[in-house]
Structures are given as C-alpha cells and as structure tokens.
Symmetry: D3
Amino acid sequence: MRILIVNPNTTASMTKKVGEAARAAASATTEILAANPVAGPESIEGYYDEAFSVPGLIGEMQLRPDMDAYIIACFDDTGLEAARCMTDAPVIGIGEAAFHMASMLAHRFGVVTTLQRSIPAIENNLVKYGLASRCSKVRAADVAVLDLEGRNEVALGKITDRIVESLEQDGAEAIVLGCAGMADLARSLSDKFNVPVLDGVACAVKLAEALAGMGLKTSKQRAYAAPISKRYS
Amino acid sequence: MRILIVNPNTTASMTKKVGEAARAAASATTEILAANPVAGPESIEGYYDEAFSVPGLIGEMQLRPDMDAYIIACFDDTGLEAARCMTDAPVIGIGEAAFHMASMLAHRFGVVTTLQRSIPAIENNLVKYGLASRCSKVRAADVAVLDLEGRNEVALGKITDRIVESLEQDGAEAIVLGCAGMADLARSLSDKFNVPVLDGVACAVKLAEALAGMGLKTSKQRAYAAPISKRYS
Amino acid sequence: MRILIVNPNTTASMTKKVGEAARAAASATTEILAANPVAGPESIEGYYDEAFSVPGLIGEMQLRPDMDAYIIACFDDTGLEAARCMTDAPVIGIGEAAFHMASMLAHRFGVVTTLQRSIPAIENNLVKYGLASRCSKVRAADVAVLDLEGRNEVALGKITDRIVESLEQDGAEAIVLGCAGMADLARSLSDKFNVPVLDGVACAVKLAEALAGMGLKTSKQRAYAAPISKRYS
Amino acid sequence: MRILIVNPNTTASMTKKVGEAARAAASATTEILAANPVAGPESIEGYYDEAFSVPGLIGEMQLRPDMDAYIIACFDDTGLEAARCMTDAPVIGIGEAAFHMASMLAHRFGVVTTLQRSIPAIENNLVKYGLASRCSKVRAADVAVLDLEGRNEVALGKITDRIVESLEQDGAEAIVLGCAGMADLARSLSDKFNVPVLDGVACAVKLAEALAGMGLKTSKQRAYAAPISKRYS
Amino acid sequence: MRILIVNPNTTASMTKKVGEAARAAASATTEILAANPVAGPESIEGYYDEAFSVPGLIGEMQLRPDMDAYIIACFDDTGLEAARCMTDAPVIGIGEAAFHMASMLAHRFGVVTTLQRSIPAIENNLVKYGLASRCSKVRAADVAVLDLEGRNEVALGKITDRIVESLEQDGAEAIVLGCAGMADLARSLSDKFNVPVLDGVACAVKLAEALAGMGLKTSKQRAYAAPISKRYS
Amino acid sequence: MRILIVNPNTTASMTKKVGEAARAAASATTEILAANPVAGPESIEGYYDEAFSVPGLIGEMQLRPDMDAYIIACFDDTGLEAARCMTDAPVIGIGEAAFHMASMLAHRFGVVTTLQRSIPAIENNLVKYGLASRCSKVRAADVAVLDLEGRNEVALGKITDRIVESLEQDGAEAIVLGCAGMADLARSLSDKFNVPVLDGVACAVKLAEALAGMGLKTSKQRAYAAPISKRYS
C-alpha cells in the first residue's frame, strides 16, 4: 500500500519530521511518501495561510494520482473537502483522525494546539465533524508551529502546562496534540501523564491504512463529487 | 463609501450581473466595484472549485486595499475567513448575509440552491454560523450555475417547484435563493409567492453598508488575526 | 424612510438617549421617531417587567402604523414576536441586531449586560435565534438599567472589568453591550480595547434601514401571521 | 392543597372545561380553582394573542396569592416565566408538563396542535426547555381552538389523521395533544391507538401537586427573581 | 397504589434509607415496597458496576410484576430502558426525575454527585434526555456512595462546597443531589441555601404517582417494546 | 496481535459468521478469537436483550484478559462503556466503528438496521458519540437479526429498498449496515450502489488494530476508571 502524506506548508524540515512520524506508525508493507508544496506559506497559523496552501496541496496530490490513500498533515485539516473531490481514494486529515481515535478511548478529550489564533478553526472543525461535544476544551500553548522544530524545552513546558489544565480543570480524559509538529511528543507525554496522548499523524496513517485496506472509497455522491474540471486556466 | 464585490469565479458575465444587482441595492452614495479573478474555475460547484478560487479572490481584494467593505459573491461564502484575515474592513459573504437577514423576517427559512453537490457546503456553513436550526431544509433545483446566465424558463420552473416544496412540505416562511446567479429573481418570486424571497447579493450590500457605516471593523483577535505574511513565495 | 424606535419602558430620559443614539446611526434620509408607553415598568429587568411592557409597546406601534420599520429598544427583545404579528414592516430587536452583526465580525462574541437576573432571558434568546454557539459567555456587570442614566464612573468600571474577563478568559473576539442604556459607550470602549464593541441600537437602525430599503417584509406565513383581531375587549 | 389553573383567554366555556379536566386529574384533597381574565383575546393562536393575555393572566394570579401552585392552561405556556417571577409557589405550563411527562414514557413523542401558526411557538418552547430532540415533529390539525368547544367530529377526524402520520411517518411513540381544548380527548385516543396520549392539563395538575407536595419552590435566583415592583402605573 | 423502588446495589442499609425517603414523599394511599438484588455490586460507581446490577434489578421487578409503577433508585438511572421494556407500568429513574422537576423550578440547575468517575454517565444521560442545556455543570464532591451511610460531617462539608461553587461560579439556580444516598440532605440544604435542592427519590415517587394516577403507561412502540423472551437460558 | 471479538448473543452460527468477517478484514499478523456467552439472549433486539447480554459479554472478556484489543459485535455497542472499565486495552463497538469510518468518507451517512425497535438505541448512541449530525436517518428493514442467518432474498430485498430511500430521499452519501449479521453484504451492496457501504465488523477490526498498533490505551481517567471490584457476590 502506498500513502502520500502532504505537509501543506513549505517547510521541508517539518515534512521530513512528519514523514518519519508517519513511517514509524505505518505497517511494514506500507510505503509512505511525504511531500510539501514548493510555494505557499511556510507555516499554517490561521485561515489565511490555510487558503493559500490548498492549491499547492492539491497539486502535490495530482502529481501522485495512484496512491491508495492521502493524508493532510496540518491539524486544521487544510483543504480536506477539496482534496476529497479530486480522488476516490480515502483522504484523511490529521485533526479529524485524532478526534475520532480519541473518541474511542475517552468520554472527553482535550486539545492542546499552538497559538490562540488557531483555536477557532479547530473549534469550527469539531462542530463540522459533530465531535464538539466530545472535546472538553481547545487550549493554546502560545508556541508557534516552527518553534516546534528542533528540541525546545520552553515550548515543551508550555504544552505540558496546558495538558495539566486540560486534565485538572476541563475534565479531559485524553489529550490530542493539535499540531503536526508535535508528533514526536505523544509517546513521552502519554507516559508522563498516564493518559492517552494522541498525535494526529500516527492516527491518520492508521486510519488511511484501515480504510484503504478495506477497499473503502471516498463517496462521490454530493459533497465530494468529482469536479467538472480539475485544471483551471 | 466604496465596496468591492468579488465574484470568485472567472465568468465575467456573471460578475456583470452581480455588480448590477449590487448597484441596484446600494445607497446613492455607495460606489460598487465588481471584479473577478482572471484565473480559476469558471463556476463554483462544490469544494474543489471553491479551493481554487480563493487565491484569486484574495488577489482581487489585495489590488483594492482601500475599500470600506468587501463582499464575496458566491453563495457558499468561498474563502470568507481567509479574506477576513487580510483586512480590518468588514467582509460579508452573500450566503451568511441572506441567512442573517432571513432570520429577522421569519421563524424558519428554506434555501433553494443549484445542484445537489452544493448542498453539503451550505449545510456546513449553516452549522458553522449557528443558524442551522433556523433553516427548514436546503433543496437543490438541479440547475447549474451557468444555466442561470440569460433567461432560462426551464431553470426558473425548477426553482419555482423547489420553493413550493419548501413552503408546503418543510414549513419555510421565507426563501433564500442559494446562488449569486439568482439575484435577479428575488423580486418576482417574492411577489409570486407572497413571502420574503432573499437574494444574498442585495443583503450583503446592505450589511456591508451598515457595518462600515457604523465604523465597525473585523475583529483582529484570534480567528481573523492578520497573517504574519500576506505574500507567499 | 421613517422608523419608529420604541423603548418599552416608561423612562422618558432613556427614550431620549435611545432616540439620539438611533439618529446618530441613521442615514441622512431616515427619520427616527422615538416613543415609550405611558404606563408600565420604568425599567425592564427580567421576565415580569418584560410581560407588562408588551401591550404598551404594541400600543405605541399601533399609534404609528405607517412606519417603514420598527425597532424594539430593549436588549431582551421584549415582545418581538408579537410585534411582528401586527405589521408586515420589518421589526428588529436591538439584542438580535447586535448578535447578528457581531457574528459577521468575529468567530465568538461576548455579551456584557446589567444584572445577573437578566442573563437567562438573553441566553434563551441566543438559543432561540440559533446563535448560542457564537456567544462565548453572557456576563453581568451588576449595574441596574437606570444607573446607566447620566455619567456613572462606577458603572463604567464594572462594565470594563467584564469586558476584560470576556476577552481574556472566555475567548471573545468582539463585545456586545447588553442594554439599550449602554448605547453611548460603544465607541469609546471599542477604541479602548481595540475590538468591535457593538451597541444594539445602532445595529438595529442599520438593519431596519437595510431590510426596508430592500423592500423586504416580515413573513406572514405561520409564526408572524396577522392576528384575527388586533383589538381586545 | 389549592391550585389555581388560569385559562389565559377569556372564553368561559373553555375555562369550565379546563377546570373539569383539572378536577378529574386532581387528588381528592386538592382543591382546583379555575379562572380566566375578563379582558384579552378569546383564544390564543399565536404570539400576538399570547402577549395580550399575559397581564390578565398575572392579574388572576395576583387575586389569589395564597395558592400552593399555579397552572397556565394554554399549550404555548403563555407568560410562564413572568408568572414564575411573581410567586415562589411552583408554576407549571401545560405544554411543558406534557413534554416532560411524555419524555418518561417514550423515546420520542409527537405533538398534534391546532393551527400551523401555532407551531413555531411550540417549537421554540421545545428548544428552550431542551426537549426538542425528544419530539419527533409538531403537526397541526388545521382546527381552531374554539372549534374544539362542543363535540366536533370533523375536528376529531383531523386530529386523528395527524396522530396516524405522527406514529407511522415520524416515529413517534407517544402523542402530546397540543391544546388545552383537547383535554377531553386523551383517554379515548389513547385507547384507540394503544399508545400514551397526553393531555397537558392533567399532566400539569399532577406535577403541581407533586412539586407543592414536596415543599419545592420556584427558585428566586436569577431567572425568576421577584420583580422590584409588582404593580405598574 | 403500589410502587416498587429498587436500589440496584446490594447494600441493604441504603435500601432501607431509600425506602424511608420514598415513604416520606409518598401520598397516604401509596404503598412503597423497597428492594435490592441479593447479588451484584454493593455500590454503583461507574459503568461497570452499572452493567452488573441490571439483571438483579430486573429480577427484583419480575418478582413483583403487579406494581402500579417502578422506581430505579440509582442516580445514573441504571437499566432504565431495559426495565421499561419488561412492563407497561411507568418506570422512573431518580436522576431523570430530579432533572425534569428542577427544569420546572429554575432556568438552570447544577448537579452535585459523588465521584469524578460518576460524572460522564450523568453527562451522557443529560444529553440523552435532552436536558444538557438546562444543567449548568455536574460537580463531584469526591465522596464515595457508601460514605453517605450514617452521619458524615466531612462528606457534608464537601457537598456544601460544591453547592457554593455551583451557585456562585456556574450560574445554577437550583441544585440536584446526584446520589440516592443524599436523599436525607435535600431539605436542610434547601433551607441553608434558600434555593430548591432536589432529591431524586422524592421526585421519582411523586412522578410515579402522577403517571400511574393518570393511567398513563410506558409506550410499547419501538424503544420499549416488550422483548420476545423475558427469560434467558 | 490478538483481538477478541465477542458476539454478545448466544447464537453460535452468528459468532462464526462474525469471526469469519473479522478474519477477512484483519491483517495477516492479527489473530482473531471469536466468542459468545453461553447464557443470555439468542439475539439482541432492543434494550432488554442488551442488558441481559452484558454480564456474559464481560465474562467472555475476563476469560481472555491478555488480548491486545476487544471488539463488541453488536450494532448497538452493547455494554461498551462497562467493557472499557475492565481493561486498558482498546475496546471498540461495531456501531461506533462504522459511524466514525463513514464520517471520513462522506458528509452524511445513512444507517439501515433490522427492526423499528432497534432504532432508538442507535439514535441515542449517535447522540452520545456526537455523530447524530453526520447521520441522515436510521431506517429499519423490518428484518429480524436471525433472519439474516443463511441466504435470504426477501431480507436482502428489504435492505436494498431502505438503501435506495436513504440515498434518494435522505441525502445519504454512504451507507452503514446496522447489524453484525449483515457483515457479508457490504461488498456486494457497495458495488451495486457505487457508494461506500460499511460493515461495522470490518471497521472495528481495523480500528482495533490501529489503536493497539499505536500502543494507545483506553483512558483510565473518570469514565472508564477501573472498578473497585471486578467480581461480585
């Protein structure tokens, strides 16, 4: 099975990290390809960056049309619906992947993301997916996406503080890490707090393998119907 | 006051029609500028087209940064959040404009849009805006956007049929026309059915004038904070 | 265009203030008439006062049946549905006006009202309008309506404190002032906090002008159907 | 125990019928007083009539301030919140009474009311009470309230048709009769359809006896706090 | 009238206390029978205990098939739907009873229960019943069920603290005590805080008397249809 | 990896069929064990049967405490929360599995289950999981669970009819088969209708492999905390 994971921003070091996290989660027989657009925002922190990364994201998918599944490696599931329109293979966002998985391990999960400005898009996604009632609260660590590249004790401390608040004040029973750049923290934080801490990249790889492994396809009825034209002037 | 209304698709005849509808609704002292991107989808029928029209839409706005307000003239409010990030002037989508206005004239409104495939994006918007409980049902007339250019009795008949169903079966008390290309039908359909029939273009013009007239700005806290960079490599 | 704004309580100084706020917001060609009932509660602080002010409110409207639109200048939108039944002109409540407007400027808005006892009616309205998910929290400043008549630094300080909490603790991105008596504070508070601060009186004037300007009428289907008799023994 | 049941319209024959239904439901030791205002609408069919009946309704309650509980005998629970503000005895609306009771006998209940125009107020109440998800659908029999005075086979036929639709098409498992004037039909319709058919008058009497019997009072915190003045100029 | 109240755990002292609370609430003509299973968990603190108590609970009901109504005396309404399938008499859970009653006395009620681990089941019930929007928050006193047997000042202090938080921080206007073992505290806490404090046992007795007194039965359509077999190998 | 799939009813032929479906979905390195209780209902059609199957279901799990994950093979996710309390391995219900998977392939999915009486439990689960807004409608084929054993053209015809209604009338874009006994129909129905048709058994196997493969555990905070005692007198 071959899965393309697209980091929709242009930061290659992040693509590399995401690819490694995906490979660590994948089955032995799964080949993971990781890519990012050559043009567009270097990190996605809010709706504006999101909008400008979608054409590049779709472009990367169109370069590799024969994949068994696709993953969008940005926690706000950038361009998810558009991507689903251009293929009948499953397309999974790392945000939704983590939300669905956490819902099967806990009554309520908390989300710890990067910046305050990223919270509304996550809240809107939770409402769209139906899972808002399963989320205790989305908290921001006040850490920029690119600050998560490389080892950063200050950032880790802030994330840890938000997890404590989520468990103690909000009634969270599991934690979803709200940024692709936090993928490498899940295991150690899970050990530290003794609750499930979910990284969306690993969740998405497993879900993509699962759906493709069952031979299930993205529905082409209504929402994700193929566009009349896939190329624009 | 100067308002830019952007038709996010590339069909100039539709831009012209939308511009005329906007001018018909505008106050005497308001100058309406109408524009469309030079590249991108020629009509927007679903999530894929939507994604590819946003950069062009934003580009048109960036060419005219000194407007008092902006309007996005596609009923699924294409790129609304991204557009709000790049300006502190009010930005109004024609879909939300019609939903909010209809909510002040009726307990429940029905929506009549073009194609089945356009329904999910509208439903998701209603949920995101909070107004899903105010909408009786979104119905599709099975008429493509571009079929609404020029006088088209078959299309009109289908739209009329959906309005009848909406009023008689769904309990709608007002009708929202779910496509910028239907702007010229609102008055005659309102007369025919003796209920409010709302065109989003006129509603958006009035709301843009209202917000700008009060000196109100798009909030720059959290959701619509200015992007760190407005230009990408 | 002529708009009647009814203050449903009997305090003439408040009617005067509300009328001035309305005139300040209105277009040059709009004539604002401001009225209040001669009998009934002198301020509306809860459901009981609300109920006793409705007949007087309707009475004021019936004295001026030829208006282009009507505004109800109490933040809990006293008697809104009943008022809509007696006219086909648009009728706007200042609460709903501010909620709808704020929804187009921010992902979430906070409400700062007068007394704790006024919160439930506002919460119920938000649920009824569908906009509860757009409101971060309704907070009370513990200031009575009539304490807002005249310059009152203590009251202003309490309102300011609630705004700070709303922005910092609740994630509000805009603030709605929850009392007609706060109309004169919106501009300065908006400047102070650099977020949109909305006064319902101005919002309602603009929305009334907008709806009437488009020739839109209150639906007479179902909810707001004309009563069989408009006069009772 | 003494309970006052107020029919908020002025039709004495309906008050008599409601009083009889209440007495039939009451315990042997409960004294039922039935009253109606001397002025106001002769039937309540929509929001306008509702508003004009509240002062008379409150007036009837104020004439008998020493009751153990109060019942409002109009299915849209006219003036319920206002009535709760003026007493610390329990106050029950016949609509809410039936909804709560039906929720303990069935997963979903259907409502059959009089006119289409009465549906929105009932729908809004269901949302306000939280019980909208428990109601399969509100259907109207197209029978006016006063048509239910006296034996009326045509009206009964229409009500029966709506019950059939409710059970067969909507998935209702119990039926709530949506008008005080249908109180005498519950038993025979329950026998006919072999499902619970609930009359709000009986439900409200039982709930009023229950709450008062436990010594429970209407909360005076926030929503139903006593008004500063109970008499207006 | 004869009502069986089943304590689904095996602690006889708690059954005795619950029976006494039920008798104190019942009418003079009502006979209360109290029972508990001979096998199963000795207290119910979470989903696991709940599951193992249901067969014993049903067994106790089957031993007394001729009751006019049944009450389940565990605050998470253990086995409520299953119990309704085996009888057409009304079956009331003490949790739902208190929620419905509190909804008629206050705009919002708070719940104070025993342990953190008991909160999710209560939250899920509130969502299922539709009443989540009526509950301000469920708080846990960190007191085990069996710690409530006998006079326990420490436990009482913790419960009192949670009530204070509920009223002051959450906006609760009434308090629901979230455990059958707290039945004897309602009156004194109500006096202490001057708000309605509801015990589910008394509420359930009153509702059971009310429903049975009206001759209303559990619906046998769909959800609570009689099982094909009531005895299993 | 070893996964135990428990059919909570006592029909061994169904257990065999479910086990085969699970093995067909599982990875080569996964060992599937299938079991059913020796005592309890022979099929689960409603809440009563559900309650009596849980102790046997838990008992089967306790006999094999060393599994990597557990699956509950009844579409109403019988005993799911209780099962999660007794292990820290992931526990997946086939209903939730199919709902979550369908949510990543389609905007809205329809459910086709066996009997009308099974609909309410499915509806309540959808609300509890948060996914009610993602489901267009739950329809019943009026086919008993055990009628699905062996080839049954009449049953297949009824299921097919409900799928047609779901796609054409309800706006479903994918179909979830609402009974473990329909596991063998998914592939052929998916081919027939050219939309995703999901069988919960396969979905649950894939999700169990995914969660266990990532080393994720059921949270032991709050909802699924280990019971104080796992054995009862």
